[in-house]
């Protein structure tokens, strides 16, 4: 570490970064986006079901079914991501054909993220004013219409802000997947920083990760506020 910032070291690190960073950035980006997308595809309906299932007014879901869903979500959420990545190897192999590589890391990422997304969606949906739901019922809305025309549109600002939390969390997980051979900025940080003692490379990879989180978070918050029609815009 003493001579990590010597001119030669800096020169060397810049060379490595120049060749590695663009592709790593792209990998991180596409893994994060795809994993979030799949996590939302599974987590959104699941979260909605849980949020309205115990509300007798909208949809009656049998209690045991709700209990099982809640149980599965809680279990998946309690397994540390590092362990989960290894636990789902058989599933990853079945879906992707291999357990190493960038694409393969999407499977554990989705498995880890969808229960989280489901909980976030659940809290967004529960925020919808029950009086508005009652009004929709009084106008003859079916359960499906209530979900599609009331619950989702009314909670859009909250959903956007929660999806932003999800995407930044998943971004953090992608870095961890460098351990099992997932690509991206995490892999660079681990390979050069941990295995080859090139701290400067690691530092810069981490700084880029921080910047990415900042960008996602800021644009997510802006979008959420902008989409909220309860706020009086100029």
């Amino acid at each position: 570490m003493n001579n990590a910032f010597s001119p030669e070291k800096i020169q060397e690190s810049i060379e490595i970064l120049k060749t590695e960073i663009p592709f790593a950035l792209w990998e991180t980006f596409y893994v994060t986006i795809l994993s979030t997308l799949f996590a939302v595809i599974i987590g959104l309906p699941l979260g909605i079901l849980i949020a309205i299932g115990d509300n007798k007014g909208i949809l009656r879901i049998p209690k045991p079914v709700l209990h099982i869903l809640n149980f599965i979500i809680n279990i998946l959420r309690s397994i540390p991501f590092l362990i989960l990545m290894i636990l789902v190897f058989p599933l990853t192999r079945a879906i992707i054909g291999t357990t190493v590589g960038t694409t393969a890391s999407i499977v554990p990422l989705v498995i880890a993220a969808f229960p989280f997304v489901a909980r976030l969606v659940e809290s967004s949906i529960r925020e919808v004013n029950p009086n508005i739901i009652e009004a929709a019922q009084s106008m003859g809305a079916s359960p499906f219409q209530i979900i599609v025309k009331v619950l989702i549109p009314e909670s859009i600002p909250s959903l956007i802000s929660n999806f932003t939390i999800a995407i930044t969390t998943i971004l953090g997980y992608t870095a961890m997947s460098g351990i099992i051979g997932g690509g991206g900025l995490g892999k660079i940080a681990i390979n050069y920083g941990y295995y080859r003692y090139k701290y400067l490379v690691m530092l810069i990879a981490v700084i880029i990760l921080i910047l990415l989180v900042q960008i996602f978070q800021t644009s997510g918050t802006r979008l959420s506020v902008f989409s909220d029609k309860r706020i009086k815009h100029k």
């Binding site: 009084s138 106008m139 809305a141």
Partner: protein
């Protein structure tokens, strides 16, 4: 016609059973503006939600034009709800939709084509007097304006019945009056039956022709507004009509007392008691009074005292000149 027969509903709250409604019977005719008044907790909200089955009664029937809507499937019930629409105390507009889209909402639910829905919504904005608010969001409107949009939304599917659940309770008196004017107008022009749930006497007096007083889940009195309010019989009704309590004045066996009830019959700027003194030389002593003027009409009551039998009889005679002022002698043993 809406017939409510033997309606009962109980809730269990923390192990206790609460009788929200006890054997309620009412008939509401087409074109009526029917007021349901009661204190909080009297069962008004439960009652109105039983009319469109948002709340299922434990016992009894709700017949709308002879159809028992408690027997209908969820799907059939949804169709009925296009005919029996509702407005609320907190307006309950969709906050992420423009006013125009809010009015289109029930039409969307019913599967009406977009163009037609839009056209109808624009007409309705005109009806409720907010044609320039089509592209505004509810958060940009005042409470009164939001309620107007809610009314337009409730009218979109051409309903036969409009349920108003404390629709003016969140509004100031002036806005309340303008909303009630609109409701009255709609009732007159479109012939829609209106059922108004409220705890405010003034709302009933202003627009309703019939009223039912609900107390602890029971209808204790019902009939034409003028009858029920001018001569309240039940304790609950008396509490509502004379909220301050109907006088506690020391007995004086010699004096003769007269209760005078004003029921919107005369303008509030006519000085009746002074006229009586000037024209007939009847000197009345005012013991108690609770009057107010609503829409420039006088409401309330006065308790007058007269020195002897003769003057009180003359006062009664004199007050008969005014239509529907009710004057009755209060016997001392009352």
């Amino acid at each position: 016609m809406i017939e409510i027969k033997n309606l009962s509903k109980t809730f269990s709250v923390g192990g206790n059973t609460v009788h929200a409604l006890k054997d309620v019977n009412l008939t509401i005719n087409d074109g009526d503006i029917y007021g349901i008044i009661g204190m909080s907790g009297a069962g008004k909200s439960t009652f109105v939600r039983c009319i469109n089955m948002l709340e299922r009664p434990d016992e009894g029937q709700v017949l709308i034009d002879g159809v028992d809507i408690g027997d209908l499937s969820e799907k059939e019930l949804r169709k009925v709800r296009r005919n029996v629409t509702m407005i609320f105390q907190s307006f309950n507009l969709l906050m992420q939709r423009t006013c125009l889209k809010n009015i289109c909402f029930p039409l969307e639910l019913a599967g009406v084509k977009k163009n037609e829905a839009r056209k109808r919504a624009l007409e309705l904005l005109e009806t409720v007097g907010l044609p320039d608010k089509a592209d505004c969001y509810p958060a940009q409107l005042s409470g009164g304006q939001q309620q107007r949009i809610a009314i337009a939304r409730a009218l979109a599917t051409n309903p036969k019945v409009l349920l108003c659940d404390e629709a003016t309770s969140a509004l100031d008196p002036k806005t309340t009056r303008s909303i009630l004017e609109l409701v009255k107008d709609i009732n007159k022009k479109l012939g829609i039956t209106v059922i108004i749930i409220t705890h405010q006497m003034s709302v009933i007096e202003e627009v309703c022709n019939n009223v039912a007083i609900l107390d602890k889940g029971e209808v204790v009195e019902n009939g034409a507004v003028s009858e029920v309010f001018s001569n309240p019989k039940s304790t609950a009704a008396k509490h509502l009509v004379f909220p301050e309590g109907e006088t506690e004045i020391t007995e004086n066996a010699k004096e003769h007392r007269l209760r005078v009830i004003f029921n919107a019959a005369i303008a509030s700027n006519v000085p009746i008691i002074a006229n009586m003194a000037i024209e007939e030389n009847i000197k009345a002593n005012i013991l108690a009074a609770s009057t107010k003027s609503i829409g420039e009409k006088a409401y309330g009551y006065m308790l007058l005292s007269f020195p002897d039998e003769k003057t009180i009889t003359r006062a009664i005679e004199y007050l008969k000149n005014y239509d529907s002022i009710i004057a009755e002698e209060v016997k001392n043993n009352e």
